[in-house]
Amino acid sequence: MAICFLFHIFLLLLTLANANVEGDALYALRRAVNDPDNVLQSWDPTLVDPCTWFHVTCDSENRVTRLDLGNAKLSGNIVPELGKLERLQYLELYMNNLVGSIPPEIGGLKSLVSLDFYHNNLSGTIPPSLSKLSNLRFLRLNGNRLTGRVPRELTKLANLKIIDVSNNDLCGYIPTSGSFSKFTEESFKNNPRLEGPELMGFVRYDTGGCN
């Protein structure tokens, strides 16, 4: 019977939280992480929007533009729901203990200017869907345990000014076309299995040897 009662309350809380998509998306993050410093204490899902939550910044239309959770001792996963924050410009989750892979849904953040996941414990591959982030200027994924190739799709990111995927476990060749033509090897260093810049004009055998 206690369960029924609790469920009743849960239903009531859901009624209050209503379909505020952005608050729900952020609250999904709160549920997925361990927060020993109670950085997310102000994240109250019963409020009509997350704009009074600390470490969240909104624009004049109460849409989330910044998420600043760098160096916050968070552990756990990056939830795919974050991809619903269509006006998000700055996604700052650097220097935490986040694990798991980067959800491809992050590619849905069409307003994103800065994606900082550096210095975490992320694994898996860099999703090619990040190539949809057409406003992306800063992409810093360094200091994780990312594997697989640097997706060639990322060369389409015309506004990309800074990339850092150093200190990971990436393999294959570094793309050199499009926006990547201005990046140096500095951005890719300390990836022991990374073979170096792809050589344009040579026949490339996709050996699939990047495993």
């Binding site: 239903l11 009624t15 102000s42 009509v48 160096n71 700055y90």
Partner: protein
């Protein structure tokens, strides 16, 4: 004489036969259940360890109870059962009356064979991973009183056959993906007391046939896509205690007939498209504790009759088009804990007696056209936890309006016409995390007592008439994330004690009369993404330590008296997007290191004493540079740079050195070769 022993042995025989049949039948059911258990994915289930062939199912098995030797009840809730119902022995367990498999990981479909459990009275499959439509054959389980399938992934329509379950008292289908309309046959379930269909994708109207459910106590249809009006006939459900219709697309008015629901304790119609006024008949719902009408298009006044509802604890009318004053009668609601009226067009003053019951915790009236002073009853409202008065036209003296609130964690008074001073009382609000009094007419200085609020995260006193210095006690607010004091008349320098505010993400002290130098400890603000010190009287040089704030996106030091060079260390601000150093006395060259700041978008360096070439960087080429001393470059408005000898020499000398090195290496290698050949020929 001989007949008695004969009858006796006859009886013995039949007793033995009966016992034999009973035991045998039980074994058949036990075997069937064990066969089902064998299909589970996890075989070492500790709770079901008692399920063996050697034990007596009726006596020893966990969760199994028998009646007359037949399995009558199966209750294995929250037992880590990870399997399906495909092999559930529906045909063998026809005596089952009670089945509870809730809170497991049962997946797959609900097989239509479930209708074989003809004696079923109670069926609970809730909180599992079932993924199918609800089989129509469930409508054959005519003994069913309770049916719970909530929190699964059931899809498809609600079968109209459910209307055959005439004995049903409690039906819960919530938290699935059910689609289609609510079948009108549900109106035949006249014994129904509880009907939960919430959190699905049901569409279409609320059938008026639901008005036949005269025994209904609780009706929840929230979080669906229901349309059309709320049927007037719902007003006949006089046993109703709970009515949740929120988060749908219901339109039309709130029927005044809902005022007949004398037993109603909770009414939620939020997040719909309801129009017209709030019916005054809602004032007849004397048992009402919770009233949610927020996020609709309700217009007209708040009925003063709501003041009759003495049991009200939560009233939410936010985000509508309500007009006129807040009824004084709302001050009579002594049990009121939460009053949400924000984002309407309410005018007039706040009711006098609000919080007279001493229980008011949440008072949210932001974004209205409210005027007048704050009632004195709120000064003493020590139960306050979260208060929003922002964006109204409240007046009055701030220190007289507000008192000490030991449980207050959030208050926003911004965008009003409060005057007077911030008094030391705020320092006694020990639980305060957020204090916003921006854009008022506050005068006086920032009370040092504010430093006592150790848990303060956000402080916004911007756009007032504050004078005096920044108290050093602000340095005690080590949790501070946002500090906004811009557009006041604050003078003096930034106290060194503020070095402890290393959690700051956003700092704005612009538009004051602050002087002294920009502190080098700002370099310790590793979380800072935005720094605005513009429009002050800061002098001396820009500290190179600013270059350590590596997360900085926006840096505005414009309109000060800064002198000296722009430190090249600013090139460490890799994610800087906006840089404004205009209207200062900065001299020398723009460091060429800043060329590397490829992320920069907006650069304003105008009205300084800068000279020399502009960095070869798009943002600098497009920058505002007028009013400087001698900037040059291939940019409209600037004279082209003469080949300044020092720069060219530096470059060409490096080239020359490189060339010499290459020649030497080359010579070195050929001489080795020569030697080799020579040695071979010798």
């Amino acid at each position: 004489m001989m007949i008695v022993p004969r009858i006796f042995s006859f009886l013995q025989f039949f007793t033995l036969l009966y016992l034999f049949i009973v035991t045998f039948a039980s074994t058949e059911e036990a075997t069937a259940l064990l066969k089902w258990k064998a299909t589970f994915l996890k075989q070492n289930n500790s709770l079901l360890a008692s399920w063996t062939l050697s034990t007596n199912a009726c006596r020893d098995w966990y969760g199994v109870k028998c009646l007359n030797g037949r399995v009558n009840m199966l209750s294995i809730t929250n037992a880590n059962v990870n399997g399906t119902l495909y092999d559930f022995p529906f045909s063998s367990l026809s005596f089952l009356e009670y089945v509870n498999l809730s809170m497991n990981q049962v997946s797959g479909t609900i097989p239509p064979e479930i209708s074989k459990l003809t004696n079923l009275v109670y069926l609970d499959l809730s909180v599992n991973n079932l993924s199918s439509s609800i089989p129509k054959t469930i409508g054959d389980l005519t003994e069913l009183k309770i049916l719970y399938v909530y929190s699964n992934q059931l899809f498809g329509p609600i079968p109209s056959e459910l209307g055959n379950l005439k004995n049903l008292t409690d039906l819960r289908l919530s938290h699935n993906q059910l689609t289609g309309s609510i079948p009108i046959t549900l109106g035949d379930l006249t014994e129904l007391k509880i009907l939960y269909l919430s959190s699905n994708q049901l569409s279409g109207p609320i059938p008026s046939e639901l008005g036949n459910l005269k025994n209904l106590n609780e009706l929840s249809l929230c979080r669906n896509h229901l349309t059309s009006s709320i049927p007037i006939i719902l007003g006949e459900l006089t046993e109703l205690k709970i009515l949740y219709l929120s988060s749908n697309q219901l339109s039309g008015p709130i029927p005044s007939e809902l005022g007949n629901l004398k037993n109603l304790t909770e009414l939620s119609l939020s997040r719909n498209q309801l129009t017209s006024s709030i019916p005054i008949t809602l004032g007849d719902l004397t048992e009402l504790k919770i009233l949610y009408l927020s996020s609709n298009q309700l217009s007209g006044p708040i009925p003063s009759e709501l003041g009759n509802l003495k049991n009200l604890t939560v009233v939410s009318l936010s985000r509508n088009h309500l007009t006129s004053s807040i009824p004084i009668t709302l001050g009579d609601l002594t049990e009121l804990k939460s009053l949400f009226l924000s984002s309407n067009q309410l005018a007039g003053h706040l009711p006098d007696q609000l919080c007279q019951g001493g229980k008011l915790e949440h008072l949210i009236v932001a974004n209205n056209k409210l005027t007048g002073p704050i009632p004195s009853s709120l000064r003493k409202c020590s139960s306050f936890k979260r208060v929003r008065f922002d964006n109204n036209s409240f007046t009055g003296n701030l220190s007289e309006a507000f008192g000490i609130y030991p449980q207050l964690y959030f208050i926003n008074l911004s965008d009003n016409d409060f005057h007077g001073e911030l008094n030391s009382n705020w320092g006694k609000c020990k639980n305060l995390t957020n204090l916003q009094v921006a854009r008022n007419n506050i005068s006086g200085s920032i009370p040092p007592e504010i430093g006592n609020v150790k848990g303060l995260l956000g402080l916004d006193l911007s756009s007032n008439h504050l004078i005096g210095h920044i108290p050093k006690e602000i340095g005690d607010l080590t949790s501070l994330v946002k500090l906004f004091v811009q557009n006041n008349n604050i003078s003096g320098n930034i106290p060194g004690e503020l070095r402890s505010l290393t959690k700051l993400e956003s700092l704005d002290l612009s538009g004051n009369r602050l002087n002294g130098s920009i502190p080098i400890f700002l370099g310790d603000y590793v979380h800072l993404f935005q720094l605005n010190l513009s429009n002050n009287k800061f002098g001396q040089k820009i500290p190179m330590e600013i270059g350590r704030i590596t997360q900085l996106n926006v840096l505005d030091l414009s309109h000060n008296h800064l002198v000296g060079d722009i430190p090249p260390q600013l090139a460490n601000l890799k994610v800087l997007v906006s840089l404004n150093l205009s209207h200062n006395g900065l001299s020398g060259r723009i460091p060429e290191e800043l060329e590397s700041l490829t992320g920069l978008q907006d650069v304003v360096l105008s009205y300084n004493e800068l000279e020399g070439p502009i960095p070869y960087n798009k943002a600098f080429i497009n920058a505002s540079l007028e009013g400087n001393k001698g900037l040059c470059g291939n940019v409209t408005g600037l004279q082209p740079c003469e080949r300044p000898s020092s720069v060219v020499t530096k470059h060409s000398m490096a080239k020359e050195r490189k060339l010499i090195l290459i020649i030497v290496l080359h010579i070195g290698s050929t001489s080795t070769l020569c030697f080799h050949w020579c040695s071979i020929y010798v």
